[in-house]
Subunit: 191 residues, 2 copies
DNA sequence: CCGTTTACCTATAGGGTATAGGTAAACGGG
DNA sequence: CCCGTTTACCTATACCCTATAGGTAAACGG
C-alpha cells in the first residue's frame, strides 16, 4: 500500500475549506468533502482540526481577518464620505467575490473566540469612519449598528438574489443608499 | 403491535417544524427530529412531505406568510413615519419572538416558489410605506432595498448577539436608526 | 541505525436522508 | 355488514457525514 504524505495542516485545511465554501456554499463545507479534495480519508483530518465545528470556526476567523484587512486597506488615508464609501465597497465586494467566506464570517462564535477575532477590528474601523461625522455617544454606537445593519443586510439580500427581480441595478441602489447614509449621518453630527 | 394513528399532515409537520426551529434553530429542523416529536419513524414523514428540502420550504413559506400578516396588521391605517415605525417594529418583533421562523423566512427559494410566496406582499407593503415619502422611480426601488437591508441586517445582527457587547440597549439604537431613515427618506422626497 | 513521533490508515458506531416494500386500520360501495 | 381499496404508519436497508479507537509505515533525530 503506497502511502504518499499529502502534507495536511490546519492552515491548508482552513484555506481549502474557504475555497470550498466559495464554490459550493458554507453549508457544504464538511470534513468528508474536504478529505475528498485532498484525496484522503475523513478520519485523517481529525489529526489537524478538532472536529467539524473547529474547522468552521477556523474558516470564520480566517474570513473575518481577510475582510478586515481589505477594509483597512480601503479606508487607509480616507475620511468622511470617501472613507464611508471605501469601507462599504470593500465590504460588499468581499461578499460578492467570496460568498462562502462571507457566510463563514457570520458563523456564530463563542464570546471568547469572538473577542479574540478580527471582529473587534471591524467595530474599531466602523468607529474610525464615524470620526468624520462628529457623533457623540450614544449616537456613535447607534450609528455603528445602523451601518453594520445596512452593510450586512445589503450583502445578505443581494447574495440571496433578492435584488434580481427588478431591472434596476443593485450597484445604483448601493450608491443611492450610501449617499443616503452620508446625509443622514452628517445631519446628526454635533460639531 | 398496537398502531395508533398520529394524524400527520403537511400542515401539522410545517407548524411543528416552525416551533422546533424557534426552539432549537432552523438548522436543527430535521425529519428525524420531527419524527421523534410525533413519536413516529422518520420514514413515515415521507408520505406527507417530499423530503427535507420540501419541509424547509414549507416552513419558509409559512413564516413569510405569518410575518406578512403581522406587518400588514401593523401598518393598517398608518402613514408616513408612523407606518415606517410600525412596519419596522412588526418585522423586528417577529424576528425576536420567532428566531427560527425568521431564519426560515430567509431560506433560499427557487424563483417560481418565491414569486408565489408572501415575499411579494413584503415588497408591496414596503412600497406602500414609501407612498408617504413621494419617491419617484428609481429612487423608490432604491429605498425599498435600503429599508429591506436595514430591517434584515438589524434583525440578523441582533439575533447573532452582535449588539450584546455594549451596554447601550438595542432598542435605543433601533429607534435612532428609524429616525435616521425617516429623515433621510423625507430629504429625498419629490413633492 | 534504531526508537519515537508523525501522518495517514482501517474499522466501527451513531445519526440524518431516502427508498422499497409490508401490514393493519379506516373507509366506502354494494 | 362485508370485503376490497386506500391510507397511515411500519421494518429493512443503503448511503453519507461525524467521530473515535487503534494500527502501520514513513520520517526524524540522537
Amino acid at each position: 500500500m503506497i502511502v504518499v504524505r499529502v502534507g495536511l495542516s490546519p492552515e491548508r485545511l482552513t484555506l481549502a475549506g474557504a475555497k470550498l465554501a466559495d464554490e459550493a456554499g458554507f453549508d457544504q463545507v464538511t470534513l468528508s468533502a474536504l478529505a475528498r479534495r485532498f484525496d484522503v480519508k475523513p478520519a485523517s483530518l481529525y489529526a489537524h482540526v478538532k472536529n467539524s465545528h473547529d474547522l468552521k470556526t477556523r474558516i470564520a476567523l480566517f474570513a473575518l481577518e481577510e475582510l478586515a484587512d481589505r477594509v483597512a486597506d480601503a479606508v487607509a488615508g480616507r475620511a468622511g464620505k470617501d472613507a464611508l464609501t471605501a469601507f462599504a465597497n470593500a465590504y460588499r465586494d468581499y461578499a460578492r467575490a467570496h460568498p462562502g467566506r462571507y457566510e463563514a464570517a457570520r458563523y456564530r462564535l463563542d464570546p471568547q473566540t469572538a473577542a479574540a477575532s478580527a471582529g473587534v477590528r471591524h467595530a474599531q474601523m466602523t468607529r474610525a469612519i464615524l470620526r468624520g461625522y462628529d457623533l457623540a455617544e450614544p449616537d456613535q454606537t447607534h450609528a455603528v449598528r445602523m451601518l453594520g445593519s445596512v452593510f450586512h443586510g445589503y450583502a445578505s439580500l443581494e447574495a440571496a438574489g433578492g435584488f434580481d427581480h427588478t431591472d434596476i441595478a443593485a450597484q445604483q441602489s448601493w450608491a443611492w443608499t450610501l449617499d443616503c447614509l452620508d446625509t443622514a449621518l452628517r445631519s446628526r453630527s454635533t460639531p
